[in-house]
Structures are given as C-alpha cells and as structure tokens.
Amino acid sequence: MSGEPHPSILSFDDVTFGFEDEPVLRNVTFSLHRGETLIVHGAAGSGKTVLLKIALGLLRPSRGTVRVFGRDVTALHERDWFDVRSHIGVLFQEGGLFDSLSIEDNVAYPLLNQPRLAAPQAEVDLRVRRSLEFVELGHTLDKLPSELSGGMRRRVGIARAIVTEPELMLYDSPTAGLDPITANTIMALILKGRDVRRASTMIVTHRHQDGEILERYRYDEASAALRPAGTNGSPSFTRYMVLDQGRIAFIGSPVEFDSCADPLVARFASR
C-alpha cells in the first residue's frame, strides 16, 4: 500500500456503543479509504453488525465521532441521514428483502424512495433490469422473495444494494448460512461489484475464505473472470480488522494479518 493517498470515506474515532456496564463496541477507531476493502472478522457477538449499523446511522453511538464521506454524522437527524445513506449500499445478513414486494419492486425501492435518486420510470426499469442481470437473476422480476432460494435472495440483496451505484458498500455476513458453492458465487459477485465500480467496501464475515477471495483476486472486465490480484497491474488495496468483545484486536495489511502471532487473530487467518 502506498501510504494514505486516498481520502477517508468512513471513519470512527473512539466510538463506544451500548450501556456503560455492558458496551457492545469499545473505543473503536479506524478509517476506510476510498477504493479500499476492509474485511472485518470476529466471533458471534463481537460487535461486527453493530459496527455496520452505526456506519449506516441505524444506531447512534454512545460516545465518539463517526464521519461518513468526511461529514460528521454522529448527531445527524434521521431526516438528514437519508441523503447520506443514498450514497451507501448495504446487504443485510438475511438479505433484508421486503416480503410483500416483488423482486422488481424490491430492487427499485431505493430508486423510488430516495429523493436524490429520483428518475423517470423508464430509467428506473432499465437500472433495475441491469442490476438484476448483473447478479444473473434477470428472469426473476415478477417473483416474490419467498419463491427464491437463500442464495438467490442474497443475490437480489446485492442487486438492490448496487442499483444506486453507491460509493460505499457494506456487507453484513453475506455468506452466512450458505453452502460453499453458493457462498463463492456470492463472493464473486461482491468482487465484481467492487472492481467494476471501484466502490469502497467494508465486509463483515466469519469465513476466512471470504477475506482471501477479496484480498487475492480481482475481477477482470475484459475476460469477465476472476484473476489473481496484481497480475494485471492492479494491486490489492485490502486491510483486515478483527473484533473481539467490541474492541479492535487487530487492524492491518494482509501481510501483517497473516504473520500476527495473536492466537485470536490467527484463528481467522488461513493458516
């Protein structure tokens, strides 16, 4: 990595969340830079999801400062958050699709409800179709989420997250509960989304394979396939973070991650 030439897109400064006697996050400080991928590992209940929800403004930190796109959002009013969120794409753990809406309406939802993204119906339709074809689910427009498998629902979740072409993508355990083959398909799509659109990405996962794929591969548009990072002149710009009981136990480059002696960190590294 070449120093920090990229501006910070998301930063936490000494953020604590939860009650005094039982904080879920404690004194968390980190930055995510433009174009960077941050892979967050941690055991269940270590505060990974809370970290994402604070970044999205769904939870308010008890202490500390959060900046998104350089703007202090710590005490932002809910009404003002909508504009900030329109620049962020998110995939929730179970997809978070609306049961009562068709796949098409689910994917169109952010375009129809974010004032900043308002567009004529024809353009909305086009973007929805393009986004669903991106995740290879162009044929499911009229189906309901309940008619799709778990992996397909997760892919629709990705389509809905990228349809707004956000600058920052947040993924909450995108492969949780999926079989290895489906999990790899999802990771390939996340990689494709990251590299085609060069979005900054923060991904929370407990599978070390997910981190490896993001760190070691890049999506090559010309051949429409995954290539090992660095082979086509595009270096990997990835960092790892490990959370333990709400604290950052480790944050650093892949090399530091692989060589870290801490047994807790080593559990998540592929050794």
Binding site: R79, F82, V90, Q93, E94, Y109, N113
Partner: protein, 252 residues
C-alpha cells in the same frame, strides 16, 4: 423498587416518542395513500363479519337479560331505550374496539415484528424511507377512519338484534314503540361520546400494535411475545379509556 419501575417507565417513554412522531407525521409529507387504502380494507372490510356478529348479539343479549328486570317493573316498553343507550355509549365502541384489538393490533404487531427481526425495517431506513411514515402512519390514519364507522354499524346491528329479541322473540313491545323509544333516548351527548370513543381507541389500538411490533427482538419467539403484549395492552387501554372518557361526559 426503582429498578422495577424503570422498565415500564422507559417503555412508556418510548411509546410516547413513537406516538408523537406518528401523530405529528399525519400533517407532514410523505403520504403513502396506497398503504392507507390497503389498511382500510384490511381493518375495515376485514373486520366486518366479526363486528356484525358481535354488534348483533350484544344488542340481542342486552334485550334478553333486561327482559325479566323490566317485566318486574312493568316497563317492558322501555327496552329500546336501554338497548340504545348502553350500546351507543358503551358496548358498541368497547366491543368493536376489543374485536379490532384482537384482530388488527395483533396483526400489526406480528407483521411489523416479523419485519423488524428480519431486518426489513432497518432496510427500509437504509433505503430512504422512514418506517414511522411508511408503516405506522398509514395504519394510524386507516384505523382512526374505519373504527368509528365500524362502531356505528355495530350500534345499528345491536339495535336490530335487540328488536329481534324484544319484539319478535319475546314480544315485550311493538316494533314502532321499540324504535321510537330507542331513537328518543339518544341525545347529542351520547352520539358524541359514542363517536369520540372509537376515534380515541383507534389511535391507541394502532399505535400500541405498531409500537410492540417495531420493538420486537429475538427472532420468531420475540414476534409471538410482541403480538401477545400488543393485544393485552391495547385491550386494557380500551377499558381504562372508556371509563375516563365516560367520566368526562358524565360530569358534563
């Protein structure tokens, strides 16, 4: 002692917060009219069978129970008056509200609760909509509009039920006398009370249902818990509020 009070006080405070946001939202954009009409259909049309049956039989049973007492005093001609007053003032609004609490407050709590535990409410906020405006406000507007209408229907069918029992079954009085005494017994005060109550109940029923749904946690078990709490709390509020409103009108 203070620790024991802490949880209910905090819950009430949260409820007031949600209520204030929903009620103030009624006069603010955006409006999701499609959702309002869907809810009106669900609550209004959907509750028709249960409200019709409850209204009819509550009037019928009132006439039946009163028949012996009125015969004792030779006042069977007044049966219409008694049925009209008790139904319009009290039983119509309360029984209708309790039916709608059982049907719709529970439905709201379970629907919103399921959305909460599957992160759909978080997704809604993340994708640009305020769940209070999109989910709570349409339910509040729809219930406040249809519950008074359902109550009027229940009141009327209760009078029909009373007429069937009093005139057709027991022959206590004639039809014209029944309807005449029923009509003349009602004052504007009764009508006002009979319409204000369902309006207030509607606000409480919808807000309680939505509130328990929106704070559900802990998976499917949490949704079940939220549903039960919503029905119990909404029903208790109905009987408490009917006394409070009744007290205000009695002293007027």
């Amino acid at each position: 002692m203070l620790d024991l009070l802490k949880a209910p006080v905090l819950t009430f405070q949260e409820f007031i917060g949600l209520s204030a946001r929903a009620v103030s939202g009624v006069v603010r954009k955006p409006y999701y009219w499609d959702d309002v009409f869907v809810q009106m259909d669900l609550i209004g049309v959907g509750s028709l069978p249960v409200v019709i049956l409850t209204g009819f039989f509550s009037g019928a049973v009132m006439a039946l129970q009163m028949s012996r007492a009125l015969q004792t005093y030779g006042a069977t001609s007044q049966v219409g008056q008694i049925v009209a007053i008790t139904l319009v003032r009290e039983m119509g609004p309360v029984l209708t509200a309790l039916m709608v609490a059982g049907r719709n407050s529970s439905g709201m709590a379970s629907e919103l609760g399921s959305m909460k535990v599957t992160e759909q409410i978080d997704a809604m906020r993340a994708l640009g909509t305020d769940p209070v405006m999109k989910l709570v406000k349409p339910r509040l507007i729809a219930t406040a509009f249809v519950l008074p209408l359902l109550t009027v229907l229940a009141d009327f069918l209760g009078l029909v039920g009373g007429w069937m029992v009093a005139c057709k079954m027991l022959g206590l009085t004639t039809g014209s006398q029944y309807w005449n005494t029923a009509w003349r017994a009602l004052e504007y005060n009764d009508i006002a009370q009979g319409l204000l109550k369902p309006f207030v109940f509607a606000i409480v029923l919808s807000l309680v249902g939505c509130f328990y749904g929106m704070r559900a946690s802990g998976g499917t078990q949490g949704v079940g818990r939220a549903t039960t709490q919503a029905v119990v709390v909404a029903s208790v509020w109905v009987v408490v509020l009917t006394f409070v409103i009744g007290r205000v009108f009695v002293s007027m």
